[in-house]
């Protein structure tokens, strides 16, 4: 027998500094429940921001899902008495329909997060059983391959790819059809097709998602590519930290072999192609194509100079096409529905869709796939639900550690390869980190440099040493020891590392520094000249102070300070000794009167 479990969710708005926040709603609710002997039967949850700031404090009563807004102390009493005890929702406290539409939605497809998405690469993700090849076939899987093998010549396949306008989703944005054409033109009986599933950009997981949720689409696309360029062997390079993806791929390959969709004489057409998996050790640089090739060859995962490009001399010196997972996953629909259909989506120079992994200060984190040309604002606000806790948007970092930040004024820019580069960032593999007003941009640059300097393979001197020098200067600035000369040095250093480094890692590593310097120069200057971190993030620059007016002299702060930096008589205002303070923030956390301020 199932008990109808009641649950009350209270979002008091304290968390997001809502205007009428009242911390006591939860306490009052708890008291009222106890008084009415309901405490044992009803689960009470205090929730963080629900992004309904203008309605806060909000109380939601489940299972009905009734939402009470602007709840006051007296309302709590009414909700408990009338709704919880007597069982009648308190109509007068429920926000009118036109102000707050609250509804339960049965299927995820209907929520705003999904409404504006167009799913091509992710078309089957979450729809079919990834471990069942028949289900993939049921959604027209391997039909594109059948069509290619029986009705098209390799040249026609390449033409169709070129016509589709598909560009690489792995970061570089190189037209896939052209890449295939280069490799196809090479006069060599042995060629290779590689799927790049290294996905080293922190925060990105679109490739993992595809490999776990729709592995056959990647196998099918690789086979199509193999046919187009004249390759009979493919490799999927996937990081060992993706065990689920590896397992699903292995299973998918076995199933495809059993069905003769891989192997000799595929679908009875005489075409032979097989795929093997190679595991990567999970270094960011191993996603760079020449490093990836070295890694497959059993060498240290270090890039080689280009030219020669892999399409000419790649794996074991043979012509090799390397395509990203998402690129590949977009390919079967192109052959099923035609290049014209695909190129009708997106913009003039960027066709189709792109998957982004939304992260950072955004309400709906997750994977989204949108047509090229969608604006950043649509992605962040319409689909991603905007910034939590009613905070202001500050910047969005695209392209991960290789990219740059983009500010409010450019939010209406349509997302395209070229527009993002113009803004000093790049498409990258699709990581999209949203930052709110509480983010320190110097610290953001420092964070990314800290990542790249660790991920530098160590081969070339500009990247190996230069990134450390960049990081050292950034650290100096965040510690309040920077000078204006350091800002020039950052810029020069960054420019030199970009031009002198061997591979894309070093060539893009300075981007986070250069773009923040560009858009947030004032913030750097504040750190350097005023020794101030405007966002209050850089610890060395934050100062804690007790507001003498607000301080009730309760002494809680002094008792909790780990270094005894707070002094004061009970019942009179306390004082923080800035020299002793280690900026741990405990006093601010424990103060019941919001008397501790930072600046």
């Amino acid at each position: 027998m199932a008990t109808q479990q009641r649950q009350i969710v209270v979002s008091d708005g304290i968390d997001c500094h809502a205007k009428h926040a009242d911390k006591n709603i939860v306490k009052m609710m708890r008291r009222a429940l106890t008084k009415n002997n309901l405490a044992d039967q009803i689960e009470l949850v205090r929730a963080g921001c629900l992004s309904l700031c203008e309605f806060e404090p909000v109380v939601i009563v489940y299972p009905e899902g009734i939402v009470y807004s602007h709840v006051t102390a007296s309302d709590v009493e009414a909700i408990v008495k009338e709704h919880l005890v007597a069982g009648t929702p308190v109509e007068r406290l429920i926000a009118p329909e036109n102000e707050l539409r609250s509804e339960r939605i049965p299927a995820i497809d209907n929520i705003p997060f999904f409404k504006d998405q167009v799913r091509i690469a992710l078309r089957n993700c979450g729809m079919i059983d990834p471990e069942n090849i028949d289900e993939y076939i049921a959604v027209q899987g391997y039909k594109a391959l059948a069509k290619v093998l029986t009705t098209m010549t390799p040249d026609q396949v390449i033409d169709e790819m070129k016509k589709s306008g598909l560009r690489g989703r792995g970061g570089g944005g190189f037209p896939t059809g052209n890449k295939w054409e280069f490799a196809a033109k090479q006069d060599n009986t042995v060629k290779y097709m590689i799927c790049n599933g290294d996905e080293g950009d922190p925060g990105a997981f679109m490739d993992r998602s595809v490999l776990e949720s729709d592995p056959h689409s990647v196998l099918e696309a690789m086979t199509i590519g193999g046919y187009a360029i004249g390759s009979h062997q493919g490799f999927i390079y996937v990081r060992a930290e993706y065990p689920v993806a590896v397992e699903r791929l292995q299973l998918a390959i076995e199933q495809a072999r059993t069905y003769g969709l891989l192997g000799d004489n595929i679908l009875g057409t005489g075409f032979a192609f097989d795929i093997d998996i190679r595991l990567g050790a999970g270094a960011f640089v191993c996603g760079e194509e020449t490093a990836l090739i070295n890694s497959i060859e059993g060498k240290r995962g270090m890039p080689n100079p280009k030219p020669p490009f892999p399409a000419v001399s790649g794996l074991w010196g043979k012509p090799t096409v390397i395509n990203n997972v998402e690129t590949l996953a977009s390919i079967p629909p192109i052959f099923l529905r035609g290049a014209d259909w695909f190129s009708s989506i997106g913009t003039e120079r960027s066709k189709g869709t792109k998957v982004f992994a939304l992260g950072g200060n955004i309400n709906h984190t997750g994977l989204v796939e949108v047509p090229m040309g969608t604006t950043l604002r649509q992605v962040i606000f319409d689909i991603g639900g905007g910034i939590p806790k009613g905070k202001k948007f500050k910047a969005v970092q695209t392209g991960g550690p290789s990219g740059g930040c983009i500010t409010e004024e450019f939010l209406d820019t349509p997302i395209e390869y070229d527009t993002l580069i113009k803004l000093g960032s790049m498409m990258g593999s699709g990581g999209m980190i949203i930052m709110d007003e509480d983010t320190c941009m110097v610290d953001v640059a420092r964070f990314y440099l800290d990542f790249t300097k660790d991920e530098s393979c160590g081969k070339c001197s500009p990247c190996r040493i230069g990134t450390v020098r960049l990081l050292e200067i950034l650290e100096k600035i965040t510690m309040g020891k920077g000078t204006m000369d350091d800002l020039d040095a950052l810029r020069n250093l960054g420019e030199q590392i970009k031009v002198a480094s061997l591979c894309g890692l070093g060539q893009t590593a300075p981007n986070p520094v250069l773009s923040t310097l560009n858009y947030f120069y004032d913030e750097y200057v504040a750190h350097v000249v005023e020794k101030r971190c405007p966002a209050g993030v850089c610890k060395s620059l934050v100062h804690y102070e007790i507001d003498a007016q607000a301080c009730k002299g309760c002494g809680v702060c002094a008792k909790n300070c780990p270094v005894e930096a707070i002094t004061g008589e009970i019942k009179s205002a306390h004082l923080i000794d800035d020299d002793l303070c280690i900026r741990c923030g405990t006093c601010a956390d424990v103060c019941n009167f919001d008397a501790v301020a930072t600046h």
């Binding site: 270094a283 240290r300 270090m302 080689n304 100079p305 030219p307 020669p308 300097k453 660790d454 991920e455 530098s456 393979c457 160590g458 081969k459 070339c460 001197s461 500009p462 190996r464 040493i465 230069g466 990134t467 450390v468 020098r469 050292e472 040095a489 020069n492 250093l493 030199q496 031009v499 002198a500 480094s501 061997l502």
Partner: protein, 582 residues
């Protein structure tokens, strides 16, 4: 005819063979693009980024950029200059600033690069890498704090020697060159050839020095300090004093050694002749019995360790003869000691060698008699030069001195031990005559000379028997031949192997020639030419004709491979499962 490629460098039209790099092409029109990591024929990783040139919108490394038709290359732009400068500044900012204490000062590629690129101020400073010195190996010392990660040592160890004792470990700023699991070189598969030293542009690699020990011995009135010099030293030592590559300085060297205070100055050529007698006899015995063929030479300690570690099943094929300087050391401490009436314990034998492997060899316990090492110290050619410089001896203008008796006279056969093919040629000169029972007019076996990695030769003896020889230098080549032998794909009677490419003349203890010079001349060919000239000038050119050799057999050893000879002049080997220097 090779296909030609036409393109532009700094507005000049250049035409080169297809496949030529922009770096080489630029050289042909008089532009020496600066380089650091690149070393012709050895390494081309394009990691240092010093050789950047403008190719369209991008800067690319000219050392690996293959010329394409119609390329527009610019080597002389502000962008190029400042990028190159920054890169070198980066390297300097992470380089131990100890130039005045460094053995490579004056011969350091980073130092001259910094000068050439007009680096007079450090714009970027910061943390430097801190790694402890690896000085456990008997032959080599590695100072990571000076390393610029050019990768040349890694390349030479892997490609030329097929040893792969070292590789890049760690990532990013923490990257270092090292052995697997961060072990010391001494605990790696390193065979102590020292080729890594020869390619290192800076002072990150050098020999484990013994100069001060030798000074101490010389200063000790109790000790009779005897020095012997290997053949290859005399054709290279002059380079350390600014003389052209390939200058013969035998007499000056002897004078200098005497000035340093050595009591006796002997020639290792004598030991080489002795080696021919012993090893030649061994060859004849094996040829007659047909057993344990091919006989493989054992005078190169790097090669011996390579066999012990990587081809232990072929150990029986190694000649049991000690290497020349070890033989000579053993004879000095027995025959000579008795003759001079000195306690062998009071004799200190110092070998001047073109080799750092000899430093390891000197320590092998198999090369001792009753706990007394045959040789006490091994100094490299470079160390000897340093000692001469230390005393302020004006080497170039020295008078020619003569080696001391009774080990001062070697044959031409002994001299050519210094070059690849020399041991085989010397052996053939003797073995052929003994087997033929007659004197021979031709003494120069040019088929075994030259710089081909593997030289095969068949010599028909008067009795119709054939000696099939293979002469190999560079261990990657040796590995190939050993693999053939193991698989039974090839059969030889006699194999000469020298680990160092070119033989001892290019050994790991020789003067270091910077990349710039190496890109223009073949150092090995020049030094080999000098060795063969030395041979021609020798009154005696066959080991068995050396009267001093005859005398020592008459007076002391009896005959080659006799019991006494075996006691003093032969050794044995140990399979090394986990390669080590023990």
């Amino acid at each position: 005819m090779a296909e030609l490629v036409k393109f532009m460098i700094d507005g000049q039209e250049v035409e080169v063979e297809k496949g030529t790099t922009v770096l080489e092409a630029a050289k042909s029109v008089g532009i020496a693009i600066p380089t650091l990591c690149y070393l012709k024929g050895i390494s081309q990783t394009s990691g240092c980024r010093v050789c950047l040139v403008e190719a369209g919108p991008k800067l690319l490394a000219s050392c690996s950029l293959v010329a394409e038709p119609n390329m527009q290359i610019k080597t002389n732009t502000q962008k190029v200059r400042s990028a190159r400068k920054t890169v070198v500044e980066f390297l300097l900012s992470n380089h131990k600033e100890e130039c005045t204490l460094c053995s490579r000062t004056g011969n350091c590629e980073l130092q001259s690069l910094s000068y050439d690129l007009k680096i007079d101020r450090m714009h970027y400073t910061g943390r430097r890498k801190e790694v402890a010195l690896d000085d456990v190996s008997p032959s080599l010392v590695r100072d990571q704090e000076k390393c610029v990660l050019c990768g040349r040592c890694v390349a030479v160890c892997k490609n030329t020697q097929s040893v792969s004792a070292i590789g890049l470990i760690n990532r990013g700023f923490e990257t270092v060159v090292g052995s697997p699991f961060g072990r010391s070189l001494a605990e790696s598969t390193c065979i102590n050839c020292g080729q890594c030293i020869m390619v290192c542009p800076v002072g990150a690699l050098q020999e484990r020095e013994s100069i001060d020990d030798v000074w101490d011995a010389i200063a000790d009135p109790q000790k009779v300090v005897v020095v012997q010099t290997a053949p290859a030293v005399r054709v290279a030592l002059g380079e350390e004093f600014g003389m052209p590559i390939g200058t013969r300085v035998t007499g000056k060297m002897v004078s200098a050694l005497r000035m340093l205070g050595f009591d006796k100055v002997f020639d290792t050529d004598f030991g080489a002749d002795l080696t021919i007698m012993e090893e030649g006899t061994e060859l004849i015995t094996r040829l007659t019995s047909g057993e344990q063929l091919p006989l493989m030479t054992s005078c190169c300690p790097g090669w011996v360790k390579f066999v012990e570690g990587q081809f232990p099943d072929l150990i029986p094929n190694l000649s049991s003869a000690k290497s020349p300087h070890e033989m000579e050391g053993a004879i000095i401490k027995s025959y000579f000691a008795k003759k001079m009436n000195v306690n062998p314990q009071d004799i200190v034998v110092v070998s001047i060698m073109p080799c750092v492997g000899k430093k390891y060899e000197q320590q092998r316990e198999e090369l001792s008699v009753e706990g007394m090492q045959d040789v006490d110290y091994v100094l490299t050619t470079r160390e000897l030069a340093r000692m001469i410089k230390q005393l302020g001896i004006d080497f170039v203008d020295l008078k020619e001195g003569e080696f001391d008796d009774p080990f001062g006279r070697g044959s031409g056969a002994g001299v050519i031990f210094g070059a690849t093919g020399g041991v085989a040629e010397a052996a053939l000169r003797t073995v052929y005559e003994i087997l033929a029972g007659e004197e021979l007019d031709t003494i120069e076996y040019t088929a075994v000379r030259g710089l081909d990695g593997i030289k095969e030769n068949e010599l028909e003896l008067p009795n119709g028997q054939k000696i099939r020889t293979a002469v190999i230098h560079g261990l990657a080549n040796a590995r190939k031949v050993m693999d053939h032998i193991r698989k039974g794909e090839k059969n030889y009677d006699f194999i000469e192997v020298m680990a160092c490419p070119g033989g001892c003349i290019a050994g790991g203890g020789q003067p270091i020639v910077p990349a710039k010079v190496r890109s223009k001349v073949d150092v090995r060919a020049l030094r080999a030419k000098a060795i063969y000239a030395e041979d021609v000038d020798m009154p005696i050119r066959k080991s068995h004709k050396n009267p001093d050799i005859k005398r020592i057999y008459d007076e002391f050893l009896g005959e080659p491979n006799s019991h006494v000879a075996h006691e003093l002049l032969h050794t044995h080997y140990k399979a090394k499962t986990q390669s080590s220097n023990e």
